[in-house]
Symmetry: C2
Subunit: 350 residues, 2 copies
Amino acid sequence: MDETPVYGGAKKRPSTITDVAAEAGVAIGTVSRYLNGFPIRRGNRDQIEAAIAKLSYRRNAVAAAMKTDLTHMIGLLVPSFDEFHAVMLEDLARSVRKTGRALLTYCHSNDRRIMGEALDFFATQRVDALIMDGAPEVRDRVETLLGQGMPIIFYNNDIQGVPADRVMVENRMATHRAVSHLIDLGHRRIAILTGDMHDSSARLRLEGYQAALAERGIAGNPEYVVDGDWKSENAYQATRQLLALAKPPTAIFASNYGMAIGVLGWMKDQHLSVPDDLSLISFDDVALFRLHEVGITAIAQPLARIADVMTSLLVSRLGDGAELPARTMMLDCDIILRGSTRRIAASAGS
Amino acid sequence: MDETPVYGGAKKRPSTITDVAAEAGVAIGTVSRYLNGFPIRRGNRDQIEAAIAKLSYRRNAVAAAMKTDLTHMIGLLVPSFDEFHAVMLEDLARSVRKTGRALLTYCHSNDRRIMGEALDFFATQRVDALIMDGAPEVRDRVETLLGQGMPIIFYNNDIQGVPADRVMVENRMATHRAVSHLIDLGHRRIAILTGDMHDSSARLRLEGYQAALAERGIAGNPEYVVDGDWKSENAYQATRQLLALAKPPTAIFASNYGMAIGVLGWMKDQHLSVPDDLSLISFDDVALFRLHEVGITAIAQPLARIADVMTSLLVSRLGDGAELPARTMMLDCDIILRGSTRRIAASAGS
DNA sequence: TTGTAAGCGTTATCAA
DNA sequence: TTGATAACGCTTACAA
C-alpha cells in the first residue's frame, strides 16, 4: 500500500522520525532523545542533524501529544474580536508564544450554544489550558473540564464558586474612582449605562457607581441608571432618553467603550458637544478615544499586564503548580484623563 | 501502575473510548463507529450514549488526528492584531467555525525569525491548512510545506511563483480609482505615502497611483512619493515634510490606515484642517474613520468576503480539490466617500 | 452490525 | 549512550 506512486513530483507526506533514524543510521530512540535535548554521541548528533535537514523533518506534535498529553496549545474563548479583545489577544499571543505555545482561538459571538461547542472542541483537542470570559451558562461543562484536570483561567467575568484561576480588574474600585472624579468636577446628575447584569463585571461597575454617589451623599436617581446591555445602539437610544429628562444628567458613565461610542454617536448627530453639553467617561480605553478630537476620558484596563499574569498563571499551572489552590489575581486600572470631562458650576449640577 | 490512587476527589484523566466501550458493554470499534456516525444497533446506541454522558467522554482529537491526519485546525499567521486583522479574524473565525474547525493563531510582529518559528510550529502541529500574509523571507519553508501537501493560502501580499492559493484584493485598481477621484475633484498635486516596497500590496498601490496620474496627463513628482513603510510615525513626519514643500500637495493618498492616522495626527497637532487644508484618502477602512468628525474617505477591503472566500478555498482544498491547480481569487474594494476629500479650484491644484 | 487487531509517530522503559 | 519495544487512544480493515 505504501507503494502507491506519488504524482506531482513532490514527496507528499512529511517524513517521520523513522525516516530520520534510517537516514542517519541510528535507532529511533536515539533520534527522539536528540529531539528532546538529551545527550547524544557527537557523531550520531551530526548524522541526525544532516538527516533532519535533508528530509526537512519536523517532529509530529500530534503523535508526541498522544504520549505526553501536552499539545502546547492554549484554548482562548472570546465573545468577539472587538477592539478590546484584539489588543488583549495581541499581548496574549506574544506572551504565550514566548513559552513555546500558541493560542487556539474560538469566538462564540455571545451565543451560548456556540460556547458549549467551543468547550467541547477544546476538550476534544486536549488543549493544555483554557482562558475564557466566565459565563454562568456553561458552568457544568467548565466544572467537568476542571475535574479532568484542565487548568482554566477566567478573565473579565466570573463564574462564582468554580475552583478556577482568575485574572480580574478592580471593576468596582475603578468605577468608584471615575465617578468620584465626576463629582469632584462638580457633577451631581450622573447617569450610568450598565452592561448586561448577568455579567459580574457589569454588576461590580454599577456597585462602584452607587458607592461613589452614596459616599458623597448624592441620592441615587433610578432614572439615571440605564441598562445598556453593553451595546452601542442601546447607548445611543439611552442617551436620547436621558437628555430628554426634565433634569438631564450632566455626565454619563458608560460601562464599556461600545456604549461610550453610542453616546458619542448621539451627541454628534445632534450637534451637541462633549464635554460642553455632557461629560463622558468610558470603561475601557481604545485607540479611538486617544485620537478623538477632544479625547475621551477612560478607564484603561492593563491589557499587557493581564496577558502577562495569565501567562505566568498558566506556566505555573502547567509546571509544578498543578495542585495549588485556585488563585485570583486582581489588577488595578488607570483612569486616563482627557477632554471629555469638564468642571461645571456646582449650581448647574444639582 | 494504573492503580495509583487519585487524590483530590476528582477523577483526573479524561475517559477514553475504551472506558466508554467497557461501560456500555460493547467493543471499542462499535463506539468508534457510533462517534463517526455509522449505523449502530439501537440498543447499543443507547448504551453508548448513556456511557458517554456518565463518563463525560469527549473524543481525543489528538489520537484521532494521528490516524486520520486531520487536526481540524487551520493555522493563521498574521503580523499583528491591528484593527484590520482583528476584523478579518472575527469574520474568519466565524466562517471557519462553521466548518467544524478552529484557528491556531500565531503573531509574528514582522520579525522574520518569528515567522520561521511560526511555520515550524504549524508544521509540527500538523495544521490542516495555513493562511498567511505572503512574505518573501520564508519562501523556502513555504515551499517545503507545500511539497508536503499542506494547503496554503496567501492573502494581502504575494510570494511570486509559489504554487499556493491566493486571496487578493484589486490593490492597483482600487488605488487607481481613489486617485482618479482626487483628480476629478480638481487635485493635481497628489502625494502618496507608500508601504514597505518589499510587499506586493505596496508596489501595486503605487502602480495604481502612478497609472491614474499618467492617464490624466499629470506628471509624476518624485517629491510626492514618500516611503512611509506602513508606519504611522513615518507618515506623521512625511506629512510635515510634504506640507513644507514649495508646492505642497493638496491631497495625500495613504497606502494604509496606519499612515492615514499619522497624517491626521500631524494635521491635528498643527491645527490644520482635513479637508480644508488637505484632502486625504486611506487604503483600508477602520471604525475610527467612520466615527471621525468629518469622516475619512477610504478604500474598504471586503473583509467578510475575504474570509468567506478563504474558507471555501480551504474547504475545497481539504475536500476533493486537493489536486487542483493553485487558484487566485481577486476581490474588488469599495471606495467609501466621506468628508476628508473636497473639491478644489482647478487653479489651486496646478 | 459487531469484535478483533494492526498501525499512526512519538516517548519512555529496559537491557545491553 | 544506545537499540528494541511497549504503550498512548483512536480509526479502519477484515473476519465473523
